[in-house]
Chain length 236, copies 2
DNA sequence: CGGCGGGTTGACCCGAATCAAAGTGCGTGG
DNA sequence: CCACGCACTTTGATTCGGGTCAACCCGCCG
């Protein structure tokens, strides 16, 4: 696989951006006052990514952490065999790349699955900010624990059970926060990397769900789900 | 499943304990000077756990974090179906229960797999210590990243591939740090919970490895492994 | 037009789950 | 001290889910 060395264009974040940020509740900034915020903003940058575009790569020196303003991002790892496995999904409001705060290289690659906008924050900024406000520690640790929780969930929910139950659990996960049972529908290959199954099996299960009316495909990349039916399948 | 509400007896940690601690390199205390350390010691406690004894339980309010002085600890989660899954293993020198620092309830249960000694540290102590030494932040975050790394590895290495490759990878993981290819051998049920396979399959694979001489069972709970052979199997 | 990436479907086979039955070691109580 | 029961492991027979290989469809773009 060949990667072009994309140098993404970022633009400075404005107050307006922050005001309209769908992730403005983020804990990182909770407890910061207006002056602090103005100062911090100086170092924030925004960029939009198309599906399949890479936000950062495993092994890159971690300079920034990113808040997902909207979209869906997959976080990848490679097994010793070389197969890529999706170990986490990040959605609106999630923070990714926190390794940057610890001055560590990124431990995963981050790739947009849908059109995605991120706000880029220098790791150094967070470190220096912590020197004046140690309360930040709690926020960061909480974020870390949330990440751990997410990976644990992947391990217990999306890598055990039959292909059907895994798929049901994945769809239930994807419709979270979407009120009306609507979920983004990844490609079959991505589903395979998420659930640890082959693309063919992913395709078969999706097709089956469609035929029996459990889901209804609206677009190539969106579908409507019958939550109750999926819940029943997921429980098995 | 019934749990007796064990109230474990802990004893105060002494300077000698610390001096002999197999985990004394731990990053948490790196950079603390002698006076600090003496003060900190006042709040440390030790206890030993027999196999199958619980150190803390998922959902308990997290008051302490623990450093494993020696032994092997499994960290458990339960799937929606109720099946228990081992999401991480902690060994000599590892820190577990870091959720306590963030004042969060434990996200997993910790159970000793072998005879295990832990050093218990109040989360509050770490929080207050951070107020005077924000450098601690880096150490904690690094620890968190290491945890994340461990879970990712479980996801990519121990939940994908055939039962044989998973078993090989598990054994290779278990002999790390043991110089002479010797690994602790969990029960078949634990292996099942680790690899996401049934106890029967776990038994069959172990038996097969034994017959073909890939491993040699020394005790019920220890075995000697041919690293090269296992590596070859793991690569598949 | 032809090629290509993504999705669907079919035929076949193999690995692991399941169900079932013995075998082994160990602690307890008679 | 032995016998019994229990927990754990091993092994076998059978079933079944999902992997593999291959063909084909469709929409898109050069």
């Amino acid at each position: 696989m060949r990667h072009k060395p994309v140098t993404k264009i970022y633009r400075r974040t404005t107050h307006d951006d922050c005001a309209t940020c769908p992730a403005r509740h983020i804990d990182l900034l909770a407890g910061t006052n207006r002056t602090d915020r103005s100062f911090l903003l100086e170092s924030f940058d925004l960029a939009t990514f198309a599906p399949k575009e890479t936000i950062y790569r495993l092994g890159d020196p971690g300079q920034w952490l990113y808040v997902v303003r909207f979209g869906l991002v997959k976080l990848l790892r490679y097994s010793s065999g070389g197969a890529e496995r999706i170990v986490q999904l990040a959605r609106t409001g999630d923070t990714i790349g926190t390794a940057a705060v610890a001055r560590m290289p990124y431990r995963r690659s981050a790739v947009a699955m849908t059109r995605t906008e991120v706000c880029r924050i220098p790791g150094e900024l967070v470190r220096s900010y912590n020197r004046t406000k140690p309360e930040l520690l709690a926020a960061l640790l909480t974020q870390c624990q949330a990440d751990l929780d997410a990976v644990d969930t992947f391990l217990t929910e999306l890598s055990t059970g039959s292909a059907h139950t895994r798929m049901a659990r994945l769809l239930l996960f994807l419709i979270e926060k979407h009120d009306h049972g609507e979920a983004p529908l990844p490609t079959r290959e991505e589903i395979g990397a998420l659930l640890g199954i082959t693309t063919e099996t992913a395709s078969r299960v999706i097709a089956e769900f469609r035929r029996e009316g459990t889901i209804e495909v609206l677009d190539t990349d969106r579908c409507h789900c019958k939550v109750e039916v999926l819940s029943r399948i997921a429980r098995a």
